[in-house]
Symmetry: C2
Subunit: 347 residues, 2 copies
DNA sequence: CTGTTAGCGCTTTCAC
DNA sequence: GTGAAAGCGCTAACAG
């Protein structure tokens, strides 16, 4: 029997089972007020007819879609895909579906995606990375859909957010080198106009130097786009300095791997000649030689906590705006020397 | 004025603009049969009220959601995320939205996701990688929703699919080594029970040897799970052979990078001592030292072509079942020696 | 060009 | 426990 073509509805099930639509609806939704015998009969008919509930109709009638929208800047970025894993696991647990959308780092597309998601009547929205702009805020203001930011934040903490302390993480990485006796510590960072990552991390680096009376030297600063090539480029120019740095804090693992290769291609040794520390601890950090020391960011947890927060929010619980800060740590591998093994090569 | 709380509908717009719902619907949907003046007025009211069309209601009424579901085995796999890019670009072009779902390689979840997507009334379905099982086929049989497979296929070519010739690609890689004078060519592959990738690639390798009268040696075969660690492991055991291979075909780039590191950690040189060739040409292939030679698979195009095919299918055009095969090639970098530079070290 | 009128398939009071 | 009936917000004939 070919079940193609004819869509079978709750009405069909009701008719065949000899009950009302309401009853069928009750058993489909696990409502307890149904006599076991009736339930069994209905379930049988559902099976027999191959009935599949229409989520669109349900969404319209109940004004709930059990769906949350996730806007992600770049799906091929390991950081975000790991965060997404955390989101998905918790969403599955609470029986929410995810609509994952890729903004591809384009602002226009970002706004458009949020609009589309709202049109689709998602019950909640997770916005990852990227900059939250005026435009977004205006959209959020005019909707009742709960929004949680992940790995980004907004001025005035107007929205709930989950992230780490970017300033402190960069500070910690820099201090590690200072404690190792380094004086010439270079930085390969992100655009300083990026108020979420680039700038606060830069300031963290700077503060570390200041607090330890190390002179800040702007020649040791390079700005990349967080990707491999820019890390390679940046490191290459650093290597051409007359006074080559003895260590470098790189504010993304991908750039750090690029930097490592630039150093290696230059004939220098890691960590003997130059030590490198990355940021995020994505898989590639342990798939490169030497193994990359890096700031360990709890990516999965970022997603999981955010999704958990969102479920509370969607269920009407009060949710604080402002950031929930998750802990980070330093994951030391072989692109840095163990502390205590300092030789005297930095003047 | 706070637009929160009250949902404003097409009816509100109609009332304020002094027209009928039908007219509002027409302008929202870009129907040309509206007097410019009327259109303008309606548009004004929409703007003023901040009206946002309800896609759920529209979906119910029109029986079209302009949404396609994409089931992907692993979002953190670079291969699939690149394919997804291709899908997204074409989808955007044809004004379709994407619901991206991650099955996490779990079969049960795969089936469940397909069901959910169907409940959500997607207009089409793209199924990436993974094995298409009986269970799926049964679901597909009972629905009118067009399905296109990407980077996988099914027995009897029962469904339209887009992919490359796996057999030939592995064959080509192997032949490259044979032409380079190699006799001891190892293979790090995937499970032979995997009829989509593992097995056909293995057969491609085997055929290449056979056709060139090179003895097949099962000691040179290792099976991994396509990931870094398994590549490292596999290569390590290959390295401990009394008769170490002089070249190795690795059926995923991640495993290939693992293999490279195993070789390097073993103190051997690439490509001088051992040549390595990978598979897929994901970004990491050009972010490793030495740069990885690999089978260049048109990942983006796989996605783009599949999505294009699906749009045709959704628009009622006849679509052939069976695979559309896209071309692949060898991308030679520095983990292999240039052909013609053969020295005599293979006996 | 524009309005009227049925539904789309389901949930949800409100009765019984 | 179960049913009847009123929508949810929108589209799509059909009329005019």
């Amino acid at each position: 029997m070919d079940k193609k073509k004819e869509t079978i509805t709750i009405y069909d099930v009701a008719r065949v089972a000899g009950v009302s639509m309401a009853t069928v609806s009750r058993v489909v939704n696990g409502n307890s007020n149904v006599k076991p015998a009736t339930r069994k009969k209905v379930l049988g008919v559902i099976e027999q007819l191959g009935y599949r509930p229409n989520a669109v109709a349900r969404g319209l009638a109940s004004k709930k879609t059990k769906t949350v929208g996730v806007v992600i800047p770049d799906i091929s970025n390991a950081f975000y895909s790991e965060v997404t894993r955390g989101i998905e696991d918790i969403a599955t647990m609470y029986r929410y579906n995810i609509i994952l959308c890729n903004s591809d780092l384009q602002q226009e597309r970002e706004t458009q995606l949020i609009e589309t998601l709202l049109e689709k009547q998602v019950d909640g929205l997770l916005f990852l990375g990227g900059n939250v702009r005026e435009e977004h805020l205006r959209i959020y203001e005019h909707t009742n859909v709960p929004v949680v930011l992940v790995a980004t934040k907004v001025e005035d903490n107007a929205l709930p957010a989950v992230g780490i302390d970017q300033h402190e993480a960069a500070y910690d990485a820099t201090v590690h080198f200072i404690q190792g006796g380094h004086k010439k510590i270079a930085l390969i960072g992100g655009p300083l106009t990026d108020l979420v990552k680039g700038y606060p991390r830069y300031i963290g680096y700077k503060h570390a130097l200041e607090e330890h009376q190390i002179e800040f030297d702007e020649h040791l600063i390079r700005i990349g786009d967080y990707r491999y090539d820019s890390g390679y480029q940046a490191m290459s120019t650093l290597l051409s300095l007359t006074d080559v740095p003895t260590s470098v804090v790189v504010l993304s693992d991908e750039m750090a791997v690029g930097a490592i290769h630039a150093i290696l291609d230059n004939g220098k040794k890691i960590p003997e000649d130059i030590e490198v520390i990355g940021y995020n601890n994505i898989p590639i950090a342990s798939q490169v030689r030497p193994l990359l020391s890096t700031v360990d960011v709890p990516m999965y947890d970022l997603g999981a906590v955010a999704m958990r927060l969102l479920t509370k929010y969607m269920h009407g619980e009060e949710v604080q705006t402002g950031q929930v800060t998750l802990p980070h740590s330093l994951k030391l591998r072989s692109s840095t020397r163990p502390l205590g093994s300092i030789e005297g090569e930095q003047s």
